[in-house]
Structures are given as structure tokens and as C-alpha cells.
């Protein structure tokens, strides 16, 4: 907007304001009705859905799949879409940061005088695309159920390790055979035994490389069982 357009906007706005109504009672009426609706919805939600409490946090039994609040699903899904581990920081920090910076600086690069949505198609279409993308990612994140079973034939001595892996939420990020998250946060573990040695596997599970949580809390015995089982996959 150049100086003339700014002046024109302000002049037009002055007139629109004169023609408008006073905040009290007109605008405040609408605001109050909306607040009442919001309060009603909130109270209904709290009564109907309550506030349940999950099992107590226990660093030693990781039998729970890490799931964020629903409004972070789209971020979580973004991580799944971007596969190569080298790019993980790009997905986790890079993309959200760039989006936030772009959002923050919006008024400073979109400076045209036009405000009608259908007369500034680039902004409007971008906005709609972002909304659709976020909705889709949220939806995918919501339905990506956390499976806790691994149906692969396993020699009896590895059964224990398999159970622990199945119940420890590994499959939220990793795939093993047909199970788990294909294209998830972490690499496919189906043939992990042929890729890295048993000690490296144990090391990984213990320290939790990158964004993977550390499973040190499982205890040495269980960690060994897990490592034995994973090393047997080849």
C-alpha cells in the first residue's frame, strides 16, 4: 500500500465506522451470545466426557504408546511423512519454524491494498490449502491406531523380547514386517538383525537415538530380551 492507498483506506474506514453501530449494546450482544454458546459447549463436553485419568507414569514399564494431544497430531504426522532420518530435524523443527516465521511476517510481505478474499487468490488459495493439509494430517494422525501386536512366527526363546517390543510402543514409530507404522518416525526394523549388530541394537534401545525415547527404564534383562529378539530378525 502506498501513501495514497493508506489514506484512502483510512478515509473509507472512518465512514464505515460512522455508519456502524456502537460497541455497546450491539457488538457486545453478539460477543456475549457467542460466549454463552462456548460456555454451553464446554460444560456439555466436561459433563459428557469428563476427565479420565490414565495409568500412572512409570519410567520402567513403557507399555504406553506416546501419543500427543490431538492438536499436535498434524505435527506428529508431518514426522511420519518425512522418512529419511537425516531429514528428521527438517520435519521436526525446520518446517514448523519456517511456517511460523512466514505466518509472523505475513503483513510485511503481503502488503497489497486488496482485502476481498476472491480478489487476492494467492493468499486465499494458500490459506485454504494449509487448512486442508492440516486437517488431513490431523485426521491421519487420529486414525493411525497404535498396534500392540506383532504377528510374525518367532522361535520360543525370543517370545519374551517380542512381547516387550509389542507392548512398549515401538510400533508407533517402527514397522516390523506387516505390523506397526510403515513410513513412521523411525526406520523399519523388519531386517534390523542383518543391518546392525546386537550390541548396537541394545545401545539404540537403551539411549534412544534422535527423537526416539530412551528405554533404559526397561531394565537390563528386558533390554537384553529385546535386543535378542530384534537381532533375530533378518
Amino acid at each position: 500500500m502506498n501513501a495514497r492507498e493508506k489514506e484512502e483506506y483510512l478515509r473509507e474506514y472512518e465512514i464505515l465506522k460512522k455508519k456502524g453501530k456502537s460497541f455497546f449494546p450491539y457488538a457486545i450482544m453478539k460477543d456475549s451470545v457467542m460466549m454463552l454458546v462456548v460456555a454451553g459447549v464446554l460444560i456439555a463436553m466436561s459433563i459428557i466426557m469428563g476427565a479420565e485419568q490414565g495409568p500412572k507414569a512409570d519410567p520402567t514399564t513403557t507399555t504406553y504408546v506416546p501419543r500427543p494431544e490431538w492438536y499436535f497430531f498434524y505435527l506428529f504426522e508431518l514426522l511420519r511423512v518425512i522418512k529419511p532420518p537425516a531429514l528428521v530435524p527438517v520435519a521436526t523443527i525446520g518446517i514448523p519454524t519456517i511456517c511460523m516465521v512466514l505466518l509472523l511476517l505475513l503483513p510485511f510481505y503481503d502488503r497489497g491494498p486488496e482485502r476481498i478474499p476472491w480478489k487476492r487468490p494467492i493468499a486465499t488459495i494458500t490459506g485454504i490449502m494449509v487448512i486442508i493439509a492440516m486437517a488431513l494430517l490431523t485426521y491421519k494422525g487420529a486414525v493411525a491406531g497404535p498396534p500392540t501386536e506383532i504377528d510374525l512366527p518367532t522361535a520360543p526363546q525370543y517370545e519374551k523380547g517380542k512381547q516387550i517390543v509389542a507392548q512398549s510402543g515401538c510400533l508407533a514409530c517402527h514397522a516390523i514386517g506387516e505390523n506397526g507404522a510403515h513410513g513412521g518416525l523411525g526406520p523399519d526394523l523388519t531386517e534390523i538383525g542383518s543391518k546392525i549388530p546386537r550390541e548396537a541394537i541394545k545401545q539404540s534401545v537403551t539411549i534412544g537415538p534422535g527423537i526416539m525415547p530412551s528405554f533404559k527404564g526397561l531394565g537390563n534383562e528386558d533390554l537384553n530380551a529385546v535386543a535378542d529378539y530384534l537381532a533375530s530378525l533378518d
Partner: protein, 352 residues
């Protein structure tokens, strides 16, 4: 702001016009006393100590309040404009329910879970208040996104409201930080492991990532201090910032005014609107001002402000008595009042 002189004038005018007030007040006290008395009567304080008047003469609180209430929102303002105040409402709800939760919550890794169990199962209405806080968080996220979408599609971030957009984005980020820090506090399996992953994600960030993660965890490992750190962020630091920024946000809203929907044009009167758009606009404004002042001060007789004496005044004076009585009788019932005034305003316009 032009309201302020007009209010003062009104008080003086009332003082001399209104026999009762004049008789009670001691004439020797002079004008200031009469004015104070006037203020006292219309705040309902008949006692000798006039607190409202005392505060008012130092802060001009009534003047600011009246100016805020009678400021105009532009033509075309619709339901989409309620999303911002709805967001603010839900934030206030979060603050209130949060205070009650904090009365029972213990931010320690060993006791947090038990304190939540106690709160949920034993405290009167405990689960309900937890529910309000929990679902309120989700609603706040939804509302803030809707509000942002509204300002985006209406082009409300453009000149002169750029700063308000920037403040808004910071509010958005802080609101998600609230979600993140609050999620850990119940300290059940779900929140515990999700927070560990979130923290590892933070740590994978470039340059500051590892340091930020260390700060949040209060060390290289997830420990007992992590929980109290999240708690401090969640209940003091971030809400404080959000509150302050909402204040700044609203300051700009009042100072700059809200946009009109972009497709509403000033120069195009439609329907019964008169062709002399500008003159009509002035007349409508005056009508509104009378109505509002009438309602706020319980219908004191208001002489028109001199600055606004113009051609429109004639209609205004004509329309005034009707406006006043309406405002007075309907004062406790805003809905009715709005409907009635809307119709009477239409009449006024048609007449002009």
C-alpha cells in the same frame, strides 16, 4: 475521546437543571461538589464517602469505560467478529479453573498422579473442573485458529493492523506451549511418554535445540525437576505472557478499531439507506451516542455536544425522547433494547 468534554458538560447542565440534586448539595461547595454529587447519585452511592467519584476523578475510569462502550464498530460487523472475544473468554475460563486445580495439585513426580486421583475422585466437582480445564484447552485451540482464519481471510492483518497480527501469532505459539506443558502435569503414562518424545523432538532442532531441551528437562535426563519446571511454565510464566499480550492486542483493537468485512463498501448505500451517505452517517452516530449515554447513565438528559451541532441535529433532537425512554425501560434487558433500538434507528434513518 470527544465524549469526555461532552460528559462534563452534561454533568454541569444536569446540576443546574435538576432541582433535587441542587437542593441537597450545599451551594457553598461549588461546582466540583455538585459534580461529585452527581456522580455519586448515578453510581447509587448516597453515603458521604463517594468512592466511585474519588477514583473517577483520579483515573477517569468512567470516561474511559464509556468511550470504550460507545465506540463504533464499522458497518457490516458480523458473527465472525465474536471469535476473538470468545477466545479471550475461554482463556479467562482456563485461568479460573486453573486456579482451582492448582489448589489441589502437587507438582512432584511422586505425588502428582495421586493428587490428580484425589482431585478427580474425592474433591467436590473435581472431575467437572478438570474436565472444564481439559476440554477448554481444546476449545481454545479451535477458537484461536478460527479467529486467525477470520483475520486472515478478511485481510485484517494489513495496514494499519500489522502489529496486531504479529502479537496474535505470538499468542498462538504461547497457547500451544500451554498445551504442551499442561499435558505432562497429570503424569500418567500417556502424558509422560508424549512429553519425552516432544522433548526429544525439541532436542533434534538445530543450534539451540539441545539446549532448549536440556532447559525444559532441567538436565540431560527427564527427572523430578522436569515436572516442577513444566508446572512453573504452565501456571505462571506463559499465562502471564498471554495475559499481557492479550492486553496489548485489545489495546490495538480499541485504538485502531476492527475492520469492516472487506466486501462492505462505504460509498454504496443500499436498500432504504439515504443517498447522502456521509451526512446520514453522522446523524446515525449521534443517535447512537444518545442511546448509549442514556443507557449507561440511566437516561440523563443530554444536551447535544456543541462540536456536533450541524444539519443533522434537527433530526437528532426530534428522535431523542423516544430513544431515551426506550433506553431507560429496557436497560436491564440488552437483547430487547438492541432489537428496539435497531428498529427505531431504522426509523430515524428513513426520516432523515
Amino acid at each position: 475521546m470527544k465524549l469526555l468534554p461532552s460528559r462534563k458538560k452534561k454533568a454541569e447542565a444536569d446540576g443546574s437543571e435538576n432541582g433535587e440534586v441542587e437542593a441537597v448539595a450545599k451551594p457553598t461547595r461549588g461546582e466540583r461538589a455538585a459534580q461529585a454529587k452527581q456522580l455519586a447519585t448515578h453510581h447509587g452511592t448516597q453515603s458521604g464517602i463517594d468512592v466511585a467519584g474519588w477514583v473517577d476523578s483520579r483515573t477517569n475510569a468512567t470516561g474511559i469505560f464509556t468511550a470504550m462502550m460507545s465506540r463504533h464498530v464499522p458497518k457490516g460487523t458480523n458473527w465472525f467478529y465474536t471469535l476473538g472475544s470468545a477466545t479471550m473468554f475461554i482463556f479467562a475460563m482456563q485461568a479460573i479453573t486453573g486456579v482451582f486445580l492448582s489448589m489441589y495439585y502437587t507438582p512432584s513426580a511422586t505425588q502428582a498422579y495421586a493428587s490428580i486421583t484425589h482431585l478427580t475422585n474425592e474433591v467436590f466437582m473435581g472431575e467437572f473442573v478438570r474436565g472444564l480445564h481439559k476440554w477448554g484447552a481444546s476449545l481454545m485451540i479451535i477458537l484461536i485458529f478460527l479467529h486467525m482464519a477470520r483475520t486472515f481471510f478478511f485481510g485484517a492483518y494489513k495496514y494499519p493492523r500489522e502489529l496486531n497480527w504479529v502479537i496474535g501469532v505470538v499468542l498462538l505459539i504461547l497457547t500451544t506451549v500451554m498445551g504442551l506443558t499442561g499435558y505432562l502435569l497429570p503424569f500418567d503414562q500417556r502424558s509422560f511418554w508424549a512429553t519425552i518424545v516432544a522433548n526429544n523432538i525439541t532436542a533434534s532442532g538445530p543450534v539451540v535445540g539441545p539446549y532448549l531441551a536440556d532447559f525444559l528437562r532441567a538436565g540431560p535426563d527427564f527427572s523430578a525437576t522436569t515436572l516442577s519446571r513444566f508446572y512453573a511454565l504452565h501456571m505462571m510464566v506463559v499465562p502471564g505472557l498471554i495475559g499481557a499480550l492479550i492486553g496489548a492486542h485489545l489495546f490495538f483493537v480499541v485504538k485502531l478499531g476492527t475492520t469492516a468485512p472487506p466486501w462492505v463498501r462505504a460509498g454504496r448505500p443500499k436498500g432504504s439507506r439515504p443517498t447522502e451517505a456521509v451526512a446520514a452517517g453522522v446523524a446515525v452516530e449521534d443517535l447512537d451516542e444518545v442511546a448509549v449515554n442514556g443507557a449507561v447513565t440511566v437516561a440523563d438528559a443530554e444536551p447535544p455536544a456543541e462540536a456536533e451541532v450541524d444539519a443533522a441535529e434537527a433530526e437528532e433532537v426530534e428522535a431523542k425522547p423516544a430513544e431515551e425512554t426506550e433506553a431507560e425501560t429496557a436497560a436491564p434487558e440488552p437483547a430487547e433494547e438492541a432489537a428496539e433500538e435497531a428498529s427505531s434507528e431504522e426509523d430515524g434513518e428513513v426520516n432523515s
